[in-house]
Every structure is written in C-alpha cells, then in structure tokens.
Symmetry: D2
C-alpha cells in the first residue's frame, strides 16, 4: 500500500476507508488507473474492515472476490470503502466500493464482494 | 414468480422490491428456503430494477451473477431488493440484497451482484 | 432435484454429473429453461462433487457461487458437470459447467465457480 | 506487464499463456506473490485470449471478474492460462487459471471467470 501511496483515512467497526491520490505510475495505456490497482485498494479496505471485527491475534485471508468495473478510474484520487456485511467465526463477507473523485465530485467506479477467512495466527492457516 | 407466490411491493426508478411469503414448498431438507429460490427472487428484483431504466421496448438478460449466502433463509417471508448501481446503454450492474423477516425483525441472508444486458426486442438478442 | 426430473448419471472422486430432461414446467417466457433451474442443477452437481471428498458424516453448504450465462438453455436435456478444483479441510472450490444437448450435439450454456463449506453434522454448522 | 517481468509464452486461437518469474518485489508480508499481481496476470491472459478472437481494430475491456484463491502464490514462477469459453459479438466470457511452478511441479493457485467487452476503437467505448 505504501508503494501506491495509499492511506487509511477512516477505521470504524466493520468499515474502513482508503484514499489513493492519482499518480502517473498507477495508470495503464489509456491514462486510467489500472484495474489491478483498483482491485488491490478495495480488497485491502475490505480486509481491514474484516480485521476490525476479528480477535486481536487473528489474520485475514481473501478466499475469493468479484469486482464489477463500472467506469474508467480517473480523477484526482480514488476512495475505497470496505464494510462487513456478515461477520462469522470463520468467514466474513464484505462489500467494497471504489469512487473516483475530482473537483469535489465523486463517481462510483467499482463494486466488490468478497469472502475473507479468519486465520488463527497461533495455529497457522486454518484450511 | 407466480409459482413461488412472489409479489412486487415497490417499483422505483432503478430500485425494485419483491416479497415472498414462506411456504413449505420452497424449502429444502433442513426446512430453509432453497438457495435456488433465494437466487431467483433477487435476480428477478435486479432484472426489474434494470428494466425501469431501459427504453420501453427493451428486454433484460442476466449475463452473470454472483451470490454470497450469509445465513439460512428462514422466517415468515423473504424480501429482495434490487437496485441499479450503473446504468449503461448496453450493460447494467445491479446490487441485490435478500432479507429474511419474522416478528418484525429483518436479517440479511444473501448479497448479489449482477450484470444485466439491455436487449433490443425489435432486433432480437444483442449478442 | 426430484421435482425437476434430475438424475445423477455419474459420481467419481471429486466429479459428479447430473442430467435433466427438457420439460415445459422448467421454462420461462421465451421457452428456455429458467436461469434459476440451470443454477440449481450445477450448484447441486458441485455440492455432490465436494461431498465425495469429505468425511462420511460431513454435510456441504454453498457459501457463494458465480454463474456466467453463455447461451439460452434449450434442447432435449441439460447436463451439468461439477468438479472440485481445491479440496481444503474447511473450504472446497468447485468448477461447474452446464451443457444443452440435442441431436447428439452439446453446447456449453453456463459456467459456475463456487465455494462450498464442509459442515460437521456432529457439531452443527461450522460458522 | 513489463514492470512485473511477465512474458507471453504462448498465443493460440482463444488461448494465451503468460509466465512471471518469482521476484521479491512482487511479494507481500508472508513472502507470497501478492493477490493483486496474481489477479493482474490472469486478467491479462484472459484479455489477450479474448483479443485473439476479435476483429483486428477492436480493443478489450474487463467488465467484471471473480477470482477464487486456492493456495499461496509461491514457487519459482507463476503460469497463467486464459481461454475463451464463449465468444460473442459484444461479450466474451473467459476462464483463467494460475499455477505456481517449482522443481518441475505445478500447483493451481487461482481460478478466474471474467466477462470481457469488445470495444470498437473506431467509435470509442461501446457502453
């Protein structure tokens, strides 16, 4: 996350927000931020959101995600919001949204749903 | 939808709500409403939501959906809400949620994201 | 599965095949077999495939699936094949394919990926 | 793709293979290659596979993908294979698989399904 200049701007119970300023280094051939970057940011927001509801010594593992890409990722910065829709003992389901922001306006550009697994770091991977 | 006793309870611009009362005929071996029924209801809610934003002579086609099942589908009735997240000329992305309701309480049991295709009925299938 | 006339035609280690003959009762407004039926068949094939690799007293729970619909479901019968791509202790990932068959020809009409959870029936649901 | 050291090793009709050698720069905190990198490689393999079946002046756009992560991405190199399951005029559905290879052995670590849109570069984005 450091590499792409991301910062955590808000951490609530089951909800996390991440901001990434636009940078040339993150763009693909058309000048938009690469889908891989968009995906990584929102996956991270969802993972942190899940972590806020887990025991202190737990780690989080993405078992699957799906992303619908809605619009090109361009603007001054990207804002990704992840929140937990279901918090189980083993599995957590999160919803993630990514917005492109510029000139005070915000437009949703991606939608993610993901299943996170709670990993017990004392005993190693759970599965 | 008639077969499973579903009824449209609300139709707004880009958002549709469907209610299905619990019935023995819809349950699987554990007494819960079958995942196939849950999926069909929320796919239908999303499809109708997409239709509200399409030209009058257009039809809608589900090209893909993903469902995360959050909890067993039990209660007095299911409520499915579909709304359009992105309305394109050809593709519409919708988010669907299903709630199990009983005794005045509501619990989310499923989360769907789906891509609907706008089909021009004058010229037939688009793809 | 009885209701829709489905039959298991092949059960191997981690792979299961289900056949459903075409019937008017399964069709939607355009005369094609309903997406909900297609989904249910392939979800079932994947679930049984996962069961073949689980302990004898385990049950299976679909935690999520995604389906891409490739072509209309029409023909003499549908054939769904589910096989396990990853068999974990808690989670199993399966790939499912549905084919429409008629006149000795076969055409793939749907593609599913799904995560199944191993449920210990002695202790109840795992999550 | 250059940045991560990826190379196209095989391009067939509707099927493309990409190899990425293991490198420290691609790993996350546990020493595995980051899920974002895995996703980008297989998305690219699927996109190129779709391109092989499109008109010469068309471009490709990922509208959605889902990835199931099966095992940690470690080894000497990753191999991603994308192939087209359905080639439509507007939409193409692809299946992607990623393998971690080391010491002559190969293990599948990720499974992707994706919908690619055919973009007419003469007229701009299609949707």
């Amino acid at each position: 996350m450091t590499t792409i200049g991301a910062s955590l701007v808000s951490v609530g119970e089951g909800e996390v927000e991440i901001i990434v300023p636009f940078s040339e280094a993150l763009t693909q051939q058309h000048g938009f931020i690469h889908a891989g970057v968009v995906t990584t940011i929102v996956d991270t927001a969802c993972g942190f959101a899940a972590l806020t509801l887990m025991p202190a010594d737990a780690a989080v593992l993405t078992t699957e995600f799906k992303v619908n890409f809605l619009s090109p990722a361009k603007g001054e910065r990207l804002r990704a919001v992840g929140h937990v829709v279901r918090a189980g003992r083993i599995l957590m389901v999160c919803l993630g949204e990514v917005f492109a922001e510029a000139g005070g306006k915000s437009k949703q550009i991606a939608l993610m749903t993901t299943t996170m697994m709670v990993v017990d770091t004392a005993t190693g991977l759970r599965d």
